[in-house]
């Protein structure tokens, strides 16, 4: 059946165009918009027998009411997926922008994907060693997990993300059949370049697919970018059995594009003007991480988002945190102190670590050490608050030991080099060493046997 083509629009409003009395047009169908010799893509976002509402990914700049031609393609937005995509660079809707050839072979897949049936999922348990102590010990990344980095402007989230991609490996196994899918939404050219160059240096670039929608690219295109990227990732993971690490940055820009579109559609806003379905929409992106029974690949997602004004209760980090399996929160105070990576451990969390650490996975004492470090570091904050009022001299001996522990924890445990790749054993031993600053009686989260095996008190320096 030849695709239907319409000439002329009835209305253009922000990123939306309207066509009167369309026939045989389906919801979510993809459309081609032609103006002069330029071709753009759009998607039907609302349809009635009177009117089709279409969002234009590349924006409506330069479109005219009379000359614009619109062709309905009768299918949702599909992208071609194949092995040839590895090492290539695409724009936000999956068209090559590296001067290479079009992707011709391969399956066409609906970029929206389909939800994984919960009974088909396999519960993720494999520990990924990132070589970053704070993450490995305290908010362990698990293969198949979605673990976002909550960052802020000026914080080194990109460096951390790159370090993770460079160092990530399963325990006792060299990085083998892995791939990286990198989706950029509205980030700066510099950031995109930094990430690409880092991947080039480490040689990972040939296993990487990049989808770039940069800050000066059309905003509406961003709505498609993570979906296109995840469609490629699903192909690599579940058809090609690769372990795929997906970096999505910056989700805040994605959500803003969504808000822009919702506002143009005249929808009832909920918090801070974001649409009421922001949760469901984000879930349709994040939930595409995971593992499937009887298939060998996996999708591990590390979305990065910058918290507007460092506010973790802002709808974007808030809803993200409700969907993802934990979060790595970066802390501006630590960053100011020159501590890299500046991970605010108390606010951070990995929900899947409980089943992927300890006996048979990392080391028997891992769960308890990690719990003890959390509890002790949390106490450090209380003692610090007290010390700032009554002065350090007035503290009890036990409280003073917490201050020493806190100092050492930040400078020795959290702080590490960008190329420093610590094994989980090194990390845990370091944790035990620092717990030596505390008197034995304070260690209530570890067992007596573990104390006997690992604990060594550090006397006055």
């Amino acid at each position: 059946m030849p695709a239907k083509e319409y000439v002329g629009l009835s209305q253009i409003n922000g990123p939306l165009i309207f066509i009167q009395k369309p026939t045989n047009v389906g919801y979510n169908e993809v459309v081609e918009i032609m103006i002069r010799n330029e071709k753009r893509l759009g998607q039907v976002v609302q349809i009635s027998d009177q009117m089709a509402m279409i969002q234009v990914f590349e924006g409506t700049n330069g479109l005219t009411i009379d000359k614009t031609r619109v062709k309905f393609l009768g299918k949702p937005l599909m992208i071609k997926v194949s092995d040839e995509m590895l090492g290539r660079i695409f724009n936000g809707i999956g068209q090559p922008i590296d001067n290479g050839p079009e992707i011709l072979t391969g399956d066409s897949r609906d970029m929206n994907g389909s939800p994984i049936n919960p009974v088909s999922r396999m519960y993720p348990r494999n520990f990924i060693q990132t070589g970053i102590s704070a993450i490995d010990a305290l908010m362990t990344l698990i293969r198949g997990q979605k673990l976002p980095i909550f960052s802020g402007n000026g914080l080194p989230h990109n460096r951390i993300a790159v370090q993770i991609t460079k160092q990530a490996k399963l325990k006792g196994e060299e990085a083998g059949n892995f791939a990286i899918v990198f989706a950029a939404m509205g980030i700066k050219h510099d950031e995109a370049n930094f990430i690409r160059e880092s991947l080039e240096q480490s040689g990972a670039i040939k296993n990487t697919i990049m989808f770039l929608n940069l800050a000066d690219d059309p905003a509406i295109e961003r709505i498609a970018t993570p979906r296109v990227a995840l469609t490629a990732a699903e192909y690599l993971a579940f058809d090609k059995n690769l372990h795929v690490l997906v970096l999505l940055t910056d989700m805040t820009n994605y959500c803003e594009a969504l808000r822009e579109l919702a506002t143009a559609r005249g929808e009832v806003p909920s918090r801070k003007g974001y649409p009421g379905y922001l949760y469901s929409d984000l879930a349709s992106v994040y939930e595409r991480a995971g593992m499937i029974k009887d298939r060998n690949g996996s999708i591990t997602q590390i979305p990065i988002l910058s918290m507007p004004n460092d506010d973790i209760t802002h709808p974007i980090p808030d809803l993200t945190g409700y969907i993802t399996e934990g979060q790595i929160v970066l802390n501006r105070d630590l960053n100011r102190k020159g501590i890299y990576p500046p991970i605010g451990v108390l606010q951070s969390l990995s929900r899947l670590m409980k089943d992927g650490i300890g006996k048979g996975y990392t080391r028997d004492d891992h769960p308890h050490v990690s719990s003890q470090l959390f509890a002790s570091y949390s106490r450090v904050q209380e003692v610090k608050a007290l010390a700032s009022i009554i002065g350090e001299e007035e503290l009890t001996d036990s409280d003073k030991s917490y201050l020493r522990f806190g100092e050492a924890f930040e400078n020795e445990f959290l702080k590490q080099g960008e190329d420093e790749d610590r094994s989980i054993e090194e990390t845990l031993d370091l944790g035990w060493k620092l717990l030596g600053y505390l008197p034995k009686i304070e260690l209530t989260r570890v067992s007596e046997k573990e104390i006997a095996d690992h604990y060594k008190e550090i006397k006055e320096i």
Partner: protein, 595 residues
């Protein structure tokens, strides 16, 4: 049955159709050429608005909408237990068999296995007997934990005819015909019931018995009754889901219904992998043998999320009608409320607070009021209960938002999860000052009789110590602990003992994950005995460091992990050890005082 309308508008999960005269409100309809399941949510003139339970991509104006003649209903019969359903009761394993690892659209699946033959016992009813709605006419051993009672549907009563004898039957078999005034009704192993209508009962009863959860902070401080309602509000990462999972594992209910409503896929997988391995402490059988799961994860269609809550509670009521104690966990009701908001937004209804529709609170109320302990219909005096525990996920952890405040009006237990406790990895992070339970006075009689007369007195003393500690903590924050008089220092230390040694409970510990009431009772006694004896000495002027012996404190802090539920007698040793320690101190200071 042949009624057909025509679609003319599509926006996400909401579609509108014309030529719909004759359709019922809340009728289940099949939408479009691919026959997606939907439900009519408003009728106006010749037009109907329909919420569609599947992804609407590709639907076109002009496609048909056909009626089913049924309200949105669930199928109730043997085969429910151990199953995993989506929000509109399609079994997910059947969907997997039909469409693979990813969910496809327009797949029709029977909720229950129609081919499986069940061993049906029918001892009581004979031809010519009078039967009434709710009467148990047959039993099926559905799993090793649950005897499924086949009941006459609520609205039917009359004379039994063609009664089959015991045997192996599929659920579609007619067990008997009931002749009533309005004709003959075939009674099969299953019945259908519309999800939005509560199943009838004879009379609501007062809550008397606790729903023992094995979680100390709940059972001791903020208990819930069988037939009670509770809400667990908490920001992300505060441990709502872990608490819900703990409840599903250890609550002493006969049947557990767990609704994953708009939550993570991996969480459902975790339950699916874990529950068959876990052993029900009541009877030694796998926990899955008493559990029904409803999984409508966050990336599954939003309107099915709205329906999942009703699907779950209708099943709960059905098992209540058999005389069972059912516990239903809904994680999370906020996602359900958001589904309401999303549909309401697409309908362009006038929003109330934060974009939620104005009828939000009344919907929440309707849902929680379906919980309760009741004398159920039938010919014998069965009593059953439905307890409902709903998680609430307030945006930004702000408890003044509409879903939390709306929920608070209709529940009687409020277990508030505290961000600061969670950050310090104090789990379960239920705040002991802001949480409450209205059931304590009603449950006191049962606990006094079955556990310990003094249990609730001890509980009250715990609360006193914790409240006093809270005041003292404010002072400590300002001037440090050193300036407190010794009596108050002791309170702070004992409060810490309660927090760390009693309220903290590791959900993943082999020993301490589930703590039975007897063990809780022993632990209460030991901590309070320590406090009383220490306090006696300190008030005589003994310095507080004397009573804070490392070994004794350590013993108390670790008794939860060292003594399992089935070795309660070991608490005697702890008690003796503490008493000997204090006897010695008493002697020492007695001597010095006399000298």
């Amino acid at each position: 049955m042949d009624k057909t309308g025509e679609m003319y508008f599509i926006n996400g999960p909401v579609v509108k159709a014309k030529k719909m005269t004759g359709f019922m409100m809340h009728e289940m309809v099949l939408v479009g050429n691919v026959k997606l399941t939907g439900e009519i949510i408003s009728l106006e003139g010749d037009d109907a608005t329909i919420q569609v339970y599947e992804e609407t991509t590709g639907l076109k104006p002009g496609e048909p909408v056909s009626g089913t003649g049924d309200l949105l209903s669930v199928t109730l019969g043997p085969g429910l237990i151990g199953s995993v359903f989506d929000g509109i009761q399609r079994p997910l394993d059947v969907l997997k068999a039909q469409s693979g690892d990813f969910l496809e659209r327009g797949v029709i699946a029977n909720a229950l296995d129609m081919k499986k033959a069940w061993d049906v016992q029918m001892p009581n009813v004979k031809n010519g007997d009078q039967v009434v709605g709710g009467q148990v006419i047959a039993t099926v051993k559905e799993t090793s934990s649950v005897i499924h009672k086949i009941m006459i549907p609520p609205s039917i009563s009359g004379i039994a005819q063609n009664v089959k004898s015991s045997g192996k039957y599929t659920i579609d078999t007619s067990l008997m015909t009931v002749t009533s005034d309005d004709g003959d009704h075939e009674i099969k192993l299953y019945q259908r019931w519309p999800v939005r209508i509560p199943r009838p009962y004879i009379e609501r009863l007062a809550p008397k018995e606790p729903l023992v959860t094995g979680i100390r902070v709940i059972d001791t401080l903020f208990p819930i009754s069988k037939g009670g309602t509770a809400a667990i509000p908490g920001g992300f990462g505060t441990g709502k889901t872990v608490v819900q999972h703990q409840l599903a594992k250890w609550a002493d209910a006969d049947v557990i219904i767990y609704i994953g409503c708009g939550e993570r896929g991996n969480e459902m997988t975790e339950v699916l992998e874990e529950f068959p391995q876990l052993i029900d402490p009541r009877n030694g059988k796998p926990l899955m043998e008493r559990t029904i799961l409803i999984a409508n994860t966050s990336n599954m269609p939003v309107s099915a999320r709205e329906a999942s809550i009703y699907t779950g509670i209708t099943m709960a009521e059905y098992f209540r009608d058999m005389g069972y104690n059912v516990a239903l966990m809904a994680d999370s009701t906020s996602r359900w409320a958001e589904a309401l908001r999303e549909i309401s937004g697409r309908l362009e209804e006038m929003p109330a607070e934060e974009g939620f529709p104005p009828y939000l609170a009344s919907r929440i109320g309707d849902f929680y009021e379906r919980a309760g302990r009741a004398k159920v219909i039938g010919d014998d005096q069965r009593i059953g209960s439905v307890s409902v525990i709903g998680a609430v996920s307030p945006p930004g952890g702000d408890f003044s938002e509409p879903v939390t405040t709306g929920t608070k009006r209709f529940i009687r237990c409020f277990w508030e999860l505290d961000r600061q406790l969670a950050n310090a990895r104090h789990h379960p992070s239920i705040n002991w000052l802001d949480s409450y339970s209205e059931y304590t006075s009603e449950l006191k009689a049962w606990v006094s009789k079955n556990v310990d007369e003094k249990f609730y007195n001890m509980r009250d003393r715990f609360m006193q110590i914790l409240t006093e500690d809270d005041t003292l903590q404010q002072i400590i924050k300002l001037v440090g602990e050193d300036v407190l008089p010794d009596g108050q220092k002791l309170i702070v230390r004992v409060a810490n003992m309660i927090k760390v040694g009693y309220l903290q409970q590791d959900a993943f510990s082999d020993v301490d994950s589930n703590c039975q009431l007897k063990k809780q009772d022993e632990m209460l006694k030991i901590i309070l005995n320590y406090y009383d004896r220490a306090n006696k000495l300190v008030s005589k002027g003994v310095v507080v460091s004397e009573v804070l012996d490392d070994d004794i404190v350590n013993t108390i802090m670790r008794m939860k992990e060292n003594i399992p539920n089935d070795k309660i007698e070991a608490f005697k040793d702890v008690e003796t050890k503490i008493n000997e320690f204090f006897d010695q101190l008493d002697k020492k200071y007695q001597v010095s005082v006399e000298a």
